[in-house]
Symmetry: C2
Subunit: 353 residues, 2 copies
Amino acid sequence: MYIFAKMNFQMAKKVSISDIAECLGVSKTLVSLVINGKAEQYGINAQTKKRVLDKVEELNYRPNLLAQGFRTGKTNTIGVIVSDIANRFYSRIARKIEDLAWKNGYSVVICSTDENVDKELQQIKLLQERKVDGLIISSSQLDAEFFNTLNDAHFPHVLIDRRFENMTSSSVVIDNQSGAQMAVNHLISQGYRKIGMISITPQHISSIRERVHGFYQAMELAELEVNPLWNIDVPFDNMENEIRNSLQQLHSQHNLPEAFFTLNNNLTSTCLMQLRELSVKIPSDVALIGFDDVLYFDFTNPSITAIEQPVDLISEQAFNLLLKQIKKNDVTKEERSICLPISINIRESTIKR
Amino acid sequence: MYIFAKMNFQMAKKVSISDIAECLGVSKTLVSLVINGKAEQYGINAQTKKRVLDKVEELNYRPNLLAQGFRTGKTNTIGVIVSDIANRFYSRIARKIEDLAWKNGYSVVICSTDENVDKELQQIKLLQERKVDGLIISSSQLDAEFFNTLNDAHFPHVLIDRRFENMTSSSVVIDNQSGAQMAVNHLISQGYRKIGMISITPQHISSIRERVHGFYQAMELAELEVNPLWNIDVPFDNMENEIRNSLQQLHSQHNLPEAFFTLNNNLTSTCLMQLRELSVKIPSDVALIGFDDVLYFDFTNPSITAIEQPVDLISEQAFNLLLKQIKKNDVTKEERSICLPISINIRESTIKR
DNA sequence: TCGATTTCCTAAATCGTTTTAGATTTTTGT
DNA sequence: ACAAAAATCTAAAACGATTTAGGAAATCGA
């Protein structure tokens, strides 16, 4: 089956275009043109073309993509920057992007930032130096100005999941505010009144901020009071401990709310785990609803109600936008800024029995 | 904070080493040497050095990594090939590798193969053409001969999770057979006798084969009969349906075993889901133990007993082996073949009440 | 048969960096 | 003051591809 492939590797010495040219007594130009499928266009004799292609096969020529990229400025590579590729949300996004990239002849370089500005900046820089053709990024801490500058420089890029006000760059996000409202309204419809929220720092991440905003708005519309003690805000890198501590404290003071709204899948998991450790019953003691659904929320005990994001769609739209930029097709201002709808998956964790 | 960075991007025109040289009236060589920290080594005047570095700063010179890689043959990039980056096991592996790579100045290109030989071959080829410095790969369908050839060609690479007999390449795997035996023995110790197994095709994947082997061995040692009807084997790309069908059939025939051993985390999740749909009680009707532990098995209903793989360790060892190859440090035959121990996390799904 | 066309091909420049092999200038010792 | 040694620096080649601008040979039309 792959005997052919094996041979490929064996002879991995290094055959260049010049070698082929020399072998056949023709010019490098000729060989290059044939290899790049420009034979017809340049009126190259069909027989000569065949001779070249045969030789390419025979010597198992393999292009040096570095040389090619260096010369042409195109690398057929795109960068993907997210906070953590091990987070299920991002790994699914990355996977989908990878698939689309593969189908379109692109490779993907993936970087995790851990929500760290410096790392994010360094990574963008590095990817640029590597001359990636474009970038799909879920930015932690940069801002509109930064990306506008990038945009002015015509560096193809699309922001996902998070974006900034007054940004001219392309972006694909979801309707976080509606999602949060939907979550809170669902809780309210189930009769919960004392509602807490578990969110994550840095709060200026747009998705988080919008969810927070949606939460407050829904609470206000329902004329419910927001109790600051029930709003637990934890840092990205010490989530577990801080959630544990806060919940323990509230629990020992018999001051837990009736329900918690958690702002991402990690927070939801962690919260679930910690509530269990405290033997707090869900949903009878405290209900739980999370932003961002994950396969296994369906079979946890109890199963967890969550706002679902259209992961595949996000990736598709982002990739398409990026490709358009790379191919220099222009995109109207409206098309550049995509906001996708969310949905809710209602499960046991919010259903009063 | 990142005003400096912003400026960097603004002037993203393209400043080359020649520009700097010209600007200062010195040679490209000089500039290159200074930039590469070889000033002292080449006895370059300290003042001249400073002038160069200042200019580099002033013009915001950024190296063209393609040109550099093209010239030197080193790209400071490694490839990671796995079957599916969205699978939690691999996304964790990838994340850890990425971290290690970052600390060592490498970037990571990630590829998913979907257990498809052709795709895998194409990806290896592509990564080679891109001149990655090395490869960490969980190979689906290639064989010892292939990798030996790669090894003979001195292309740095490390296999993880799966390996082949008589392979000279480096590899980091876990003790699958012991893991499987441990799983089966645990079931037996809990009093289960009728034990089934859910595995995945292609079966020649070494990790799967070894797990299967461990299963049979443990059964044999315990003098238990293996019922072929309880051995469900499903293809990678139609897992869910096939598991559903098989379980439904067994269920309708009242012929379910007392326990199932599932060979990877996806199979475990799917099996759990389907058993639930059939309203089969775990563990009272059927117990469940899985190979490869995942965070959430701890809070599913019931929580699931699983064999845990030392994910971080696998990544670390693999990366170290790769780095040694890249740096041309030699590694003894023994060091090249690493097998890590596994452990078991016992939870509700296998505890008879 | 001869100029114009068409057909087919190529020399050489170029991308940005590293590195080899040596050149130039300064300093030193006597 | 002059050769040798030391201190600084540089020209040019090389990596492997693409592309520009054009050249040689064959064919055509009259």
